[in-house]
């Protein structure tokens, strides 16, 4: 089977998964106890039956559930996720305005955890059962074992309050720095694009600690996985062959050890992205980071069905698509997968 056919089949299979996600999420959101208009109309406004009826009609909440579902799906196909009852803006508009901050934080966390995790994992494998190995294993255990909100609070206590090395949990920029003009919505990127060094260094300083905290779990996972798979590869017969051919250590590492050891690690990376998004909810709360996580919490508090649906679908979509991509990459790296053996 060619890689293209494999990829096509894999992405087609994602469609029923997404549809299932949509149906389950829609039903769950609509059966949540509580009235979404409560927060919108306030204690007093919501006590007037006429006002409540007018708003129900306006938001389509007076129609039967199945009708609401088909209207929702119809709108969804046109890229319309409905209107948030809390912000009264389009949910798509809300998601697009909050997503860049989460993506920025998530990419920084993956970079942090990926680079350091791979390096630590490789180091541990190369020094198997020696002190660097023990140290890396201890770090990995701690990093993946500590709850993210607790780690966030401790990191702030140490690096912000005690040492003063990091900015505080005040979001993406200091209050005395103006944000760069919005191009991508990610401040580090936008400040480079607009050549604003003040905003760049300030936003970079603000992202380091939350990215490290969010990436910690991931770091533990990647380094342990990398260590284990590298140990397997180092024992493989084809390495003996490579060595006996007279290849130097560097060539062996670059072309034989790393690509083979990376395969299982990449699968772990894909699966961890879902966990990363879940961790973002807590990290964003601790660091006052204005991303999807904060939006999700506010939406849940306000019983804002449309927003909750939008966030859930987005996270589900990212998760399903990332897994599909990982499967394709996996198949590309390892022909045995696509050949079905």
């Amino acid at each position: 089977m060619g890689i293209l056919i494999f990829a096509l089949r894999r992405f087609l299979l994602a469609i029923p998964t997404l549809l299932g996600l949509l149906i389950v999420t829609f039903i769950l959101a609509n059966f949540m106890p509580g009235d979404p208009l409560a927060r919108l109309l306030g204690d007093v406004g919501g006590s007037n039956p006429e006002t409540v009826a007018a708003y129900r009609a306006q938001w389509g909440l007076d129609r039967p559930l199945w009708e609401q579902f088909f209207i929702y799906v119809g709108n969804l196909l046109q890229g319309d996720l409905g209107q948030s009852t809390f912000t009264r803006r389009g949910v798509m508009e809300d998601l697009l305005s909050f997503l860049p901050a989460t993506v920025e934080l998530g990419v920084a966390a993956i970079l942090f955890a990926g680079i350091i995790g791979l390096a630590l994992g490789s180091l541990a494998a190369l020094f198997h059962n020696k002190w660097p190995d023990f140290l890396v294993r201890a770090i990995a255990l701690l990093a993946s074992g500590v709850p993210v909100f607790w780690l966030g609070l401790i990191a702030l206590q140490v690096f912000y309050l005690q040492l003063g090395w990091s900015p505080g949990p005040e979001g993406r920029l200091s209050s005395r720095v103006n944000p760069p003009p919005r191009i991508t919505g990610a401040y580090t990127v936008d400040s480079i694009l607009s050549a604003d060094s003040v905003a760049f260094w300030d936003s970079l300083a603000h992202i380091v600690l939350p990215a490290a905290v969010l990436g910690a779990f991931f770091l533990g996972l990647v380094s342990r996985m990398m260590r284990a798979s590298m140990l397997d590869v180092l024992k493989a017969p084809y390495l003996m062959t490579a060595r006996s051919k007279g290849l130097n250590t560097r060539t062996i590492a670059q072309f034989h050890v790393l690509p083979n050891a990376l395969i299982p690690t990449i699968t772990v990376v894909g699966l961890a992205i879902g966990g990363l998004l879940a961790g973002a909810v807590l990290t964003e709360t601790v660091f006052s980071w204005p991303g999807i996580g904060r939006y999700a919490v506010d939406a849940a508090k306000a019983l804002d069905y449309q927003a909750i649906l939008g966030v859930t679908l987005l996270i589900g979509f990212v998760y399903v698509i990332t897994n599909a991509i990982i499967d394709v990459v996996y198949a590309a790296l390892d022909p045995r997968i696509r050949l079905g053996s």
Partner: protein
């Protein structure tokens, strides 16, 4: 391969070096480089989670009480030291007809909007009718208004549905903001009766402020911060700070850290425990002032607990609660009014609250013959102005267990709680009321009448409330009004359906860089009085 990596690293380094050198060529942050600009920038940390819009017609939210007065004004204002006194604002004076049904306001003629348009009576009519007809959360503020007549560009007349001696006080609510009607109409604003379906101005108002206030919106980064800058041409005194930034910091502990490190100037949501731990701190000051917010409990007539229909059972609950113990747990010295009208409001200071008396409570229950019984208490699991409702109910549960009433506590999300409360399905619950205007009628109306919002919910408000309410609104003589208010509050106390528990203090922690940080009854914080420390 090696060469490619080296080239990439060299390019990245060059980009960073270039970026460092670009600071002078970029104007975006040039204004922030000097220390002088930091002096005139005020940074406030508070939970902005409920700030959904800047459109005053749409939502009532704590954050909006602070934000709206930055960019807009009302016809009249409250005196910050004594909010019962009404002061001129956009209206320099006002007259009232003998039957108290017609109010005429005379506007200042030196007020302009950011667009340069001059304030006229048309702006007042458009803004207030829009609030009424959009039918959003603040529409009830215009409930007494039957029609509005523009007499001339600086004179506007309100015709009310009935006599209302408290009308000028009602007009101080920050939500009744006067906006630039021409600009508003050009951007989707509608004021006639179709507004509920046709008004589309919210998106515009979320991006542009068009009020007569001292500040203009610079940028609202939703969920992150909201930034205002002082505007040219403001009709009042120029504010001390040329820039005000309100950062969305949810937790009290984070606000505390930021204010201690000097990253924010004022932390707004500090609980009593955190405030107590900061007493010896040198870099910050703790302000703790009496608020007008009131945390109360409400009993309702429900099939599950018919016991509460008996006045003696309600009075037993009232007598069994250890108010002193609750106050002590919250830092002490918090006053407790006799009924759901806070201390500081007309008449509230003159009626003594019921004291704790467990023996009396037991006697009342024995007299009622209800025996021991259990009640499900569904309440919003929130912290209201430093009062954790969970902790409050744990204490009341312990108090009531002494007289044979068992409480089953059921904390729920706010939205779930309010739904049950509105449906009159909660036999016993707690609520909070933070006033937007400062006449006792704003409590008599919802809490004291059978047809008031809470009268309908509890189904147990005394029948003479309506009569007392109308009598109060028809009286303009201050001493007569006070006498009626005292009578009303005494009735409310003795009826014991709604029992005030505590009027918590408002606590803020602020940097020693600033001074004169005080509580504002209508804005939470007297933004315009804050100065730089000498």
């Amino acid at each position: 391969m090696k060469k490619q990596i080296q080239v990439s690293i060299a390019l990245a380094c060059a980009a960073l070096v270039a970026l460092s050198g670009c600071a002078t060529s970029n104007n975006n942050n040039a204004a922030n480089d000097g220390a002088a600009s930091a002096d005139t920038n005020l940074v406030i940390g508070m939970a902005l989670g409920d700030l959904a819009t800047l459109d005053p017609a749409r939502v009532l939210a704590d954050a909006m009480q602070l934000v709206i007065p930055l960019y807009s004004d009302t016809l009249v204002d409250v005196n910050q030291d004594d909010p019962r006194q009404i002061e001129p604002a956009l209206a320099s004076s006002w007259d009232v007809s003998d039957d108290l049904k017609t109010y005429t306001f005379h506007l200042r003629d030196d007020v302009t909007f950011p667009s340069g348009n001059k304030l006229t009576a048309d702006d007042v009519e458009f803004s207030l009718l829009r609030i009424k007809n959009v039918q959003g959360a603040s529409a009830f503020k215009m409930g007494m208004v039957e029609s509005i007549d523009v007499i001339d560009p600086t004179t506007i007349q309100f015709n009310l549905v009935g006599a209302d001696s408290s009308f000028p006080s009602r007009m101080t609510a920050p939500y009744l903001a006067i906006l630039d009607s021409k600009v508003l109409a050009e951007n989707g604003g509608v004021s006639d009766e179709t507004a509920v379906d046709t008004d589309t101005a919210q998106a515009f108002l979320d991006a542009t402020t068009i009020g007569t206030g001292a500040y203009e919106l610079s940028k609202w980064n939703r969920n992150e911060d909201i930034i205002f800058t002082a505007r040219e041409g403001y009709w009042g005194d120029a504010p001390t700070f040329t820039k005000v930034t309100i950062r969305n910091i949810q937790s009290a502990s984070t606000q505390r850290q930021l204010v201690e490190r000097g990253d924010i100037d004022i932390a707004m949501d500090i609980d009593p425990d955190t405030a107590a731990s900061l007493k010896d701190s040198t870099g910050v000051s703790v302000g703790s002032e009496q608020s007008y917010n009131l945390n109360y409990i409400a009993m309702s007539d429900t099939p599950a607990n018919p016991q509460f229909k008996d006045l003696r059972v309600r009075q037993a609950v009232q007598a069994a609660i250890d108010y002193e113990g609750i106050s002590a747990a919250l830092g002490g010295n918090a006053p407790r009014p006799a009924a759901v009208v806070p201390i500081g409001f007309l008449g509230a200071d003159q009626v003594d609250p019921i004291e704790t008396d467990v023996a009396r409570a037991k006697a009342l229950l024995a007299e009622a013959g209800v025996g021991e019984f259990a009640v499900d208490v569904t309440f919003a699991n929130v912290i209201w102005y430093g009062v954790s409702q969970q902790a409050l109910w744990e204490k009341i549960k312990a108090d009531l267990s002494q007289v044979g009433i068992t409480l089953n506590l059921k904390p729920v999300e706010y939205a779930n709680w309010i739904e049950g409360y509105r449906a009159s399905s909660l036999p016993l619950t707690s609520g909070l009321w933070a006033p937007e205007d400062f006449d006792s009628s704003s409590y008599f109306d919802p809490f004291g009448r059978e047809d008031g919002i809470y009268g309908k919910r509890t189904k147990m408000v005394f029948p003479i409330g309506q009569e007392l309410y109308e009598k109060y609104l028809s009286e303009i003589d201050p001493s007569e009004r006070e006498a009626i208010a005292v009578e009303f509050i005494t009735e409310m106390r003795d009826h014991a359906t709604l029992i005030p528990i505590i009027q918590p203090k408002k606590i803020f922690v602020y940097s020693n860089r600033i001074d004169n940080v005080k509580y504002s009854p209508d804005m939470q914080l007297r933004m315009f009085d804050i100065t730089l420390a000498k």
